[in-house]
């Protein structure tokens, strides 16, 4: 197998797919120097390794990649070789345009996918939260990448739908694998810590139970049941407790307005914040702040 590169700017093959920035197969028969420095990742990119052994720095940590491993690098992450060299080997790389990328590293895929909105949210969240996103021994990858290559190179009848659906399948299978990775190492205490951290870091996000369950790789019912058993909380009550705890801290230690606190801690409005706060603590946030001054 040799190298090829399809590029959005130059390659006619990609004309029907404006969201594909680049699709390439890289074959490297001898070490190349100064071509792969550690840099910020520009595009959402899926790497699939076919031959060789690669030692790359992902987000400042050394990772080893062997055949059948997948790395999904996302904007704002860093990637490269510590010495800036590219090792001998063979891999696919597919770079895609993503939309609505925000400061929480959340994003969506464009209109080309047929994913339902709620599925899209959970899938993107799973892909966004896992850093670095590495799938070891992802044997489904070879077939997907080879069919993608075949469809793009041959442009047989119906190839546009096929290409979109293969890429869609890559995304779904990756998200499922991430989800499964979590439940594979099933350890509820660790899972609880992880969920807690995730919620704290994205407190302003309007989490649904489905999204929380997705983070730890469980179905909604199993997740709710296990969390309740382990922590005594339903998922949404746990979230509310975190929101109120954080808002208390903000009320006590900052001067920022009620509305800002409400939004920062994930309430829909200052009204919603005030009612929830009073219901739990007995005080309105205003009085609470006054009392603690």
């Amino acid at each position: 197998m040799s190298s090829f590169t399809l590029n959005k700017e130059k390659s006619a093959e990609l004309q029907a797919f404006p969201y594909i920035i680049e699709f390439e197969r890289v074959k490297n028969s001898s070490m190349k120097h100064r071509c792969f420095e550690v840099e910020k990742v520009k595009y959402f990119s899926i790497y699939f390794f076919l031959e060789g052994k690669f030692e790359w720095m992902v987000n400042d940590a050394m990772q080893h990649f062997f055949p059948n491993d997948v790395l999904i690098a996302k904007p704002n992450e860093t990637l490269g070789n510590r010495e800036g060299m590219l090792e001998v080997g063979l891999f696919y790389k597919l770079s895609l345009e993503i939309e609505n990328f925000d400061e929480d590293d959340d994003f969506t895929f464009g209109k080309w996918t047929k994913l339902a909105e709620s599925d899209m949210k959970i899938i993107c969240k799973l892909l966004a939260l896992k850093k670095p996103l590495i799938l070891q021994d992802f044997r489904k990858g070879i077939e997907l990448f080879q069919s993608l290559e075949y469809e793009l190179m041959n442009e047989e009848i119906g190839y546009i739908v096929r290409v979109n659906s293969i890429i869609e399948e890559m995304i779904i299978k990756s998200a499922r694998a991430v989800s499964k990775q979590e439940s594979h190492r099933f350890d509820f205490q660790k899972m609880f810590q992880k969920l807690d951290l995730m919620l704290r870091e994205n407190l302003s996000h309007h989490w649904t139970v489905g999204e929380m369950a997705g983070v730890v790789g469980l179905g909604n019912t199993a997740f709710t049941e296990k969390l309740k058993y382990y922590s005594g909380f339903s998922p949404l009550n746990y979230l509310i407790n975190l929101r109120i705890s954080e808002s208390i801290r903000l009320l006590k230690t900052t001067n920022i307005s009620m509305t800002e606190i409400a939004l920062e801690t994930g309430f829909y409005s200052s009204q919603h914040f005030s009612t929830t706060f009073k219901k739990l603590t007995g005080y309105s946030p205003k009085i609470y702040r006054k009392n603690s001054l």
């Binding site: 439940s183 099933f186 350890d187 382990y230 922590s231 005594g232 975190l242």
Partner: protein, 506 residues
């Protein structure tokens, strides 16, 4: 019907239990909170989250019509984990997270103090082992290593005191919790000068110490209203988890020791005297003026067992640990006592009592070609209990107990309880009530309210569990293994130090 509410602010969760006046549980609810490890040695908790969690769980019981239509709450009594430190400013606002007992950042400071003559004197006066867990070491650490935070600090309180402050606006601490700080002189029942001097603070940093029965605190009106409590509901300050779990055995004399194995473990005894030996190896916490809870804690209880079952692939990946528990014990119970020659030193997390060596590490010893995973699992459980026997033997030089009471999720399992009985060669009574700290708190509440005359008579409400008797044949076998266990632990001092140095990359 009248009832008391007990609140245990534990290491991983807040547990609230309502009891009637006969000690019967009416309702139990819990709410968990996480521990953060911003650095490997650090263990912290979010004080606001702990407060909100307690409030939430409390509220969900008190506002439930099924409860409040039938019961009237006459008092609320508190229990908590020991040794947490939360610096607050002059308005009572927390300066960062609370540092909990498991935090090891003050290890060096503790070692420095332990080997000094001041340290020995402090131990003699406070009864708290000089160790990183002790607030004495932690507060000294904050003063030395985090001067900015120290400067803003007006008080050092615990998570329980923070809860009390939120609820009442007062800073108050019970004798039990105070006696776990390393700052509290158990003779004078006042803050110890030598400790204050060492840490570089004065007593204005600490709350007012009161007996565990104290009910002078007044819950703020807002909370009385939002919790739907009667205005005259008493808030009884209560005690700590370790003291109350021991109290819940219902026996307050030195003929009995209480063995608790949860993720960690402890051997505790009750006595009229403090148990301060030369080596400073025992803790002494004040339940009441006449009762010292003395004993030794181990880091490596159920946590070592859980580690081994995962390591050896016993835990089904799709299941929680608890659902595999019986299956595992079923298999290992078929292995003969002594695990056919495998010994396990359980020091995965270093060790506190009785060797007090944070460099100690775990080991399987005696492996041969015929051993299977089940032998190693059984050896793990035996090793955990051998360690507890070593603690027990150290205590028996001072207090001659010959009867055991077990509490905690591991120790009360019939397989574990029988092993404890065989390894100690003593009769074991198994507590059949799991929320032992809460039950102890109910005993304190009912005594404080005058329903019982004193803590001994409150012991009447404890329902005795079953007694397990030792097999003396097994005891003889275990005795041989325990000798090797102790001599290995002793011989490996230098090697523990060397290997832990390598693990820490020093």
């Amino acid at each position: 019907m009248e009832c008391v509410i007990t609140i245990e602010i534990g290491t991983s969760a807040a547990k609230v239990v309502a009891f009637d006046y006969h000690g019967n549980e009416i309702v139990y609810k819990k709410g968990s909170y996480p521990t953060f490890h911003p650095q490997p040695d650090f263990s912290e908790q979010d004080p606001e989250q702990v407060f909100i969690t307690v409030l939430f769980v409390l509220k969900s019981i008190l506002n439930d019509p099924a409860f409040n239509k039938k019961y009237v709450v006459t008092s609320i009594c508190l229990s908590s984990a020991m040794h947490s430190v939360l610096p607050v400013d002059n308005k009572g606002v927390p300066l960062g997270n609370a540092i909990i007992w498991a935090d090891n950042r003050a290890d060096e400071i503790a070692n420095e103090l332990k080997n000094s003559s001041v340290g020995k004197q402090i131990y003699q006066n406070t009864g708290t082992p000089i160790h990183a867990m002790s607030p004495l070491a932690k507060i000294t650490w904050i003063k030395r290593q985090d001067p900015k935070r120290f400067e803003k600090t007006s008080r050092f309180i615990s998570l329980k005191e923070y809860f009390i402050f939120q609820l009442t606006g007062e800073y108050m601490i019970d004798y039990s919790l105070a006696s776990a700080t390393g700052f509290f002189n158990f003779n004078t029942l006042a803050w110890e000068e030598e400790s204050l001097k060492f840490a570089g603070v004065d007593k204005s940093y600490f709350s007012t110490p009161v007996p565990i029965f104290d009910s002078s605190l007044k819950i703020k009106d807002t909370f009385i209203k939002s919790l739907r409590l009667l205005p005259n509901t008493r808030l009884i300050i209560g005690s700590t988890d370790g003291c109350l779990a021991t109290l819940s055995s219902g026996v307050l004399n030195d003929r009995q020791a209480t063995i608790s194995i949860t993720s960690s473990g402890a051997v505790r005894t009750v006595g009229k005297e403090c148990l301060t030996d030369e080596k400073g190896q025992f803790f002494n916490y004040l339940l009441d003026k006449n009762f010292f809870i003395s004993g030794g804690p181990t880091n490596n209880g159920g946590v070592a067992f859980e580690w081994a079952t995962r390591l050896l692939g016993y835990v089904d990946v799709t299941n929680e640990f608890e659902s595999s528990f019986n299956k595992i014990l079923n298999e290992v119970s078929k292995v003969k006592p002594g695990s056919e020659g495998v010994l396990f030193l359980p020091y995965l997390l270093g060790e506190r009592s009785p060797i007090w060596n944070s460099d100690a590490r775990g080991m399987f010893f005696g492996l041969n070609i015929t051993h299977e995973p089940k032998h190693l699992i059984r050896a793990t459980i035996e090793g955990i209990i051998f360690e507890i026997l070593s603690i027990g033997n150290a205590i028996r030089k001072y207090r001659s107990f010959d009867y055991l009471h077990v509490t905690g999720s591991y120790a009360t399992h019939p397989f574990w309880a029988q092993l404890i009985s065989d390894i100690f060669g003593m009769t074991v009574s198994v507590s059949n009530y799991r929320q032992s700290s809460n039950l102890g708190a109910a005993m304190v509440a009912l005594t404080s309210m005058g329903v019982y005359d004193n803590l001994e008579s409150a012991g009447d409400l404890v329902i005795k569990g079953i007694d397990l008797h030792p097999s003396m044949d097994n005891n003889k076998v275990y005795d041989k293994y325990h000798r090797i266990f102790e001599s290995l632990t002793q011989k490996l001092g230098d090697e523990f130090h060397e290997i832990s140095k390598l693990q820490n990359n020093d």
